[in-house]
Symmetry: C2
Subunit: 110 residues, 2 copies
DNA sequence: GTCCATACCTAGGCAACCTAGGTATAGCCG
DNA sequence: CGGCTATACCTAGGTTGCCTAGGTATGGAC
C-alpha cells in the first residue's frame, strides 16, 4: 500500500516519537509500527529525507562507522511544528472523507 | 484539499448513497457532504467518471433536455462491490496511519 | 441582450511516489 | 577463503493520478 500523499507526516511522526534514527531503521520502524502495511522502498524514503532536510524540517549527520557508516536524522523545531500541522491536516482529511462516506461509516475519533 | 488517491471511493460513495446523479450535481454533493473540503474541479471528476464507466463500475445515460441535457450516472453491481472494497481499504489505511501516529493519536472508530 | 450559472468535455502539465539499478561493507557458513 | 545475504546508502527516470486551462453550449435573470 502506498502512502497517498501522507509520506511526510509518517516520516516526521516516527522521527518525533522514536528519536533520531537512520534511513534504513526508519523504514523498518514504519513497517513495524504499521504492522507491515507501510513497507516503503528506499527509493521513496531517501529522497524524501533529503527533501525534508532541504526544507529545514530535519537535520542529519554522519555517524562514524560503528559498525557501519550511517546517516542519522533528527527533527528540527520547524520539523516538530510541521509534524503537528500535518497531523491536524490529516485529522481534518479523515473527518472530511468520513462525512462523505456517511454516518454509517462511523464517527471520527477524539 | 485534494483527494490523495481516494477519488474513486468518494465518487462511488456519493453514487451509492445519493442514487443516480449527473456530474455537476455530484461535484456539488461532494462539496456539501464534505463541508466544503472537497470542491473538485470538473477536470478531475468528468474524466474519473469516464474511467469508472470504462471499468464497468458505473453506467450512464443521457437525460432528455429537461431543463438541460445531462449525463446521469448510476452504480452497477460491480460498482457497489468496489465501493465496499474501497471502503474496507480506506479503513485499513486510516488504521495503519493511526498506528504509526501512535496511541496518543486516538483509536480508530468502529 | 448580456451575464452568470449550469452542464458537459479534453489535452497536456505537474507532483509524488516507485522501479530499477547502482555502490560498499559486515557477518555468516562451509 | 569465498560466496551469499543483510545492512546501508544513493539517484535517474518512469508511472500514476489529479489538476490547470481551455473549450462548447444552453437556460434564466435583470
Amino acid at each position: 500500500m502506498d502512502v497517498r500523499g501522507h509520506l511526510d507526516l509518517l516520516l516526521l511522526a516516527v522521527l518525533a516519537d522514536g528519536g533520531p534514527v537512520h534511513g534504513y531503521a526508519l523504514i523498518a520502524a514504519l513497517r513495524d509500527r504499521s504492522d507491515g502495511m507501510f513497507d516503503l522502498p528506499e527509493g521513496t524514503v531517501y529522497p524524501a529525507l533529503h527533501r525534508l532536510e532541504r526544507e529545514g524540517l530535519v537535520v542529519s549527520h554522519w555517524e562514524p562507522a560503528v559498525p557501519r557508516r550511517r546517516r542519522v536524522y533528527a527533527l528540527t523545531s520547524d520539523g516538530r511544528q510541521a509534524r503537528v500541522a500535518k497531523q491536524v491536516e490529516w485529522r481534518s482529511f479523515v473527518s472530511g472523507v468520513q462525512s462523505v462516506l456517511g454516518p454509517a461509516a462511523g464517527p471520527v475519533p477524539a
